[in-house]
């Protein structure tokens, strides 16, 4: 396949601006993600969220674009940095914040936590916290869709650090040989955890430079540009749905914070952080929409609406009590129980 004129790169080059409703939806979705993650951070600071959490502040355009472009019955597989990818599938914000706080109202009744958000009915097939493991699982869901001829597509998000683990390579080869309807999206935020990905990777672009090994098109997209992300998401989903097989998309982005709650991200040069904050996907998108003639009042209203939504979700989650202790013994097995003997 010729890199420069493959169908995905062509889609990016020829991308047209999405219609106004879609753009407003992208803006709304990015604001929802941003405000929810900021609230999650605040709740940590108040010690209302225990354990750990991995925020995706700064990476909202990717989740918003795929959320808008995916069909309701498509599958999302994501990582422990998965609050946004879960939210954009239409999952309850109250249930997400409740899960982070270990409340009964939580999405998983407190049994999963921040790193494992999942809502099967919405196609949010889970957030996985072992690097790479969900990549072959997404291939399996795509295989199932292909076998059932359902037209569904699986989308699998992962970080740059995942590109050096075996499961990444096994999954891409597997998806390619079976021509599976799966879209692999590498969110390259430049750091695996604390270490720059470039320091530990044999190629410059950790996902894209491996694409040719699996007969896939080499694709690198600005992950902070919601319009462009929407174009590539639509193209890759269409390709998968029409029998064109898997895609591997490397999107360039940046997390505004550290790897996890425990990490202030001090290893990153100030100039680098400043440069990427200037590329913040949300204020830049707002300005673009204003430049294109959308009035400020419309955007202000969206911000107010999402801010109110987060307040309401937070209040409802905090009003919920802890989960009942009995549920710790449930749902190991499909019969709902945990018994291993008679």
């Amino acid at each position: 396949m010729n890199d420069s004129i493959g169908p995905l790169n062509a889609a990016v080059q020829n991308a047209t601006v999405p219609d106004k409703d879609t753009r407003l939806e992208l803006y709304r979705s990015m604001q929802a993600c941003r405000m929810m993650e900021q609230r999650a951070y605040d709740l940590f600071m108040q010690n209302l969220v225990k354990g750990t959490s991995h925020l995706a502040l700064g990476q909202e355009a990717i989740a918003a674009a795929f959320g808008a472009a995916m069909r309701a019955d498509d599958y999302t597989f994501c990582t422990y940095r998965g609050h946004n990818h879960t939210l954009v599938r239409g999952v309850s914000m109250t249930a997400i914040l409740g899960e982070l706080m270990g409340r009964e109202i939580g999405l998983l009744s407190g049994k999963g936590g921040s790193m494992h958000l999942m809502d099967i009915e919405k196609g949010a097939m889970g957030s996985y916290a072992i690097i790479g493991a969900h990549m072959p699982m997404a291939a399996g869901a795509a295989w199932s869709a292909q076998y059932r001829e359902s037209g569904q597509v699986a989308v699998c998000f992962f970080g740059d650090g995942t590109t050096n683990i075996g499961a990444f390579h096994e999954a891409l080869n597997f998806a390619a040989i079976w021509n599976l309807p799966v879209v692999y999206v590498c969110e390259n935020n430049l750091y695996m955890e604390y270490t720059p990905i470039g320091d530990v990777t044999a190629v410059e672009n950790p996902a894209a430079d491996r694409a040719s090994a699996y007969g896939l098109e080499r694709v690198i997209v600005d992950g902070n540009d919601a319009d462009l992300m929407y174009a590539i998401a639509t193209a890759a989903l269409d390709k998968a749905r029409s029998g064109g097989g898997p895609s591997l998309i490397e999107v360039q982005t940046y997390r505004h914070g550290g790897h996890s709650r425990a990490d202030p991200g001090k290893y990153r040069p100030d100039e680098e952080v400043a440069a990427w904050k200037a590329r913040d996907p949300i204020p830049n998108y707002r300005q673009r929409l204003l430049d294109d003639g959308i009035d400020a009042a419309t955007l202000d209203a969206i911000e107010k609406e999402q801010s109110d939504r987060v307040d309401a979700a937070d209040a409802a989650a905090q009003a919920s009590g802890p989960p009942p202790l009995e549920i710790a013994d449930t749902d190991v097995w499909a019969d709902g129980g945990s018994s291993w003997r008679n």
């Binding site: 072959p136 291939a139 399996g140 869901a141 076998y147 499961a167 499909a334 008679n342």
Partner: protein
């Protein structure tokens, strides 16, 4: 009743379930065109076609990850891991994903899948192709663990495993593939979690699994003929769920327990059964519980060495005699 080999019973069970349910699919290395490296899956590709019986690359994480993703989304995959030793390269998918995700999701999804694998020693393959790992699997909440000893149990328990809504690790003991036995004709589905009393006795209960079952039966024969000791032999068949009541009923009658395990000594399944009997049935015992296991070593390759370390009928007899003293 037909005479089938242990290996033929594998294909018979898979074919039976694939005929019954079109959502049953089968994947693994060399399982389709080649019919399996142990010739356990011949004829399935021809009958069910390449969309349902699929050869994979040597990529165990991909095989089991794909099986997991397919199981979450409506299929009932059967995956083969050629040798159970290879679970070590994909154990994450088994333990962290398949076993935990239903629980973590608060019951939103299930993993109706079976992972078949050739397990255990006796084939002179050396330490990386001979291990007994059923006790690894038993230690993980969320996995069902089955290890049959006969062709009939292969067919009935594999069919039951495929129909089961939970993930089942199905261990076929590779040195048994050639044995033959009566297998019920037609559709035959057994039940997981049921041990079987294969020989009734009154003096001692010998509990065994997989390849240790025929050895325990042989030992019981010797004990009866040469030592006038009446041994009851129980084939555990399923470690999870574990049929504790069949074992307890027997020990309550014989008052003595010997477990025969192929796995290395530490944390073998016999230790769990011993612990249950010691905790809950202590006052029924008339002597110490005895565990017969392979020593805590990797399995050696040379036939004379492998035979020396795996529990033999004679070693079982010797241990029972010590207990009877």
């Amino acid at each position: 009743m037909a005479q089938l080999s242990y290996r033929e019973a594998v294909a018979a069970a898979i074919a039976q379930e694939m005929r019954r349910d079109k959502n049953v699919v089968f994947l693994g290395e060399d399982i389709a065109a080649a019919g399996g490296v142990f010739k356990t899956t011949g004829g399935l590709l021809e009958e069910f076609g390449p969309l349902r019986v699929r050869d994979t690359p040597i990529a165990e994480q991909a095989i089991l990850g794909a099986a997991a993703g397919a199981a979450m989304t409506g299929l009932k995959p059967i995956a083969e891991i050629m040798f159970s030793d290879f679970f070590a390269v994909c154990w994450d998918i088994v333990v962290n994903q398949i076993a935990k995700t239903r629980f973590m999701s608060d019951g939103q999804c299930s993993f109706p899948l079976v992972i078949r694998s050739a397990n255990g020693g006796g084939a002179r393959f050396g330490a990386q192709h001979s291990q007994s790992i059923e006790n690894w699997a038993m230690a993980v909440p969320g996995l069902k663990v089955v290890a049959p000893s006969s062709p009939a149990d292969i067919k009935g328990l594999l069919a039951a495993a495929i129909q089961d809504p939970d993930p089942v690790l199905f261990f076929e003991q590779k040195s048994l593939y050639g044995i033959k036995g009566e297998v019920p004709d037609g559709d035959y589905v057994d039940q997981l979690g049921k041990a079987k009393v294969l020989r009734e006795g009154t003096d001692v209960t010998i509990v065994a699994l997989a390849a240790m079952v025929p050895r325990a039966m042989k030992a019981a024969e010797t004990l009866a003929n040469e030592h006038n000791i009446s041994a009851e032999v129980i084939d555990v068949r399923s470690l999870v769920p574990l049929d504790v009541s069949t074992i307890f009923a027997s020990v309550s009658k014989t008052n003595r327990l010997v477990t025969v395990e192929e796995n290395p000594r530490l944390c073998g399944w016999g230790a769990e059964i011993s612990s249950l009997v010691a905790e809950e049935l202590f006052w029924d015992l008339e002597g110490p519980i005895v565990r017969v296991t392979t020593p805590h070593i990797p399995l050696p390759s040379a036939d004379i060495l492998e035979d020396a370390v795996m529990p033999s009928p004679q070693r079982i007899v010797d241990n029972v005699l010590k207990l009877a003293d």
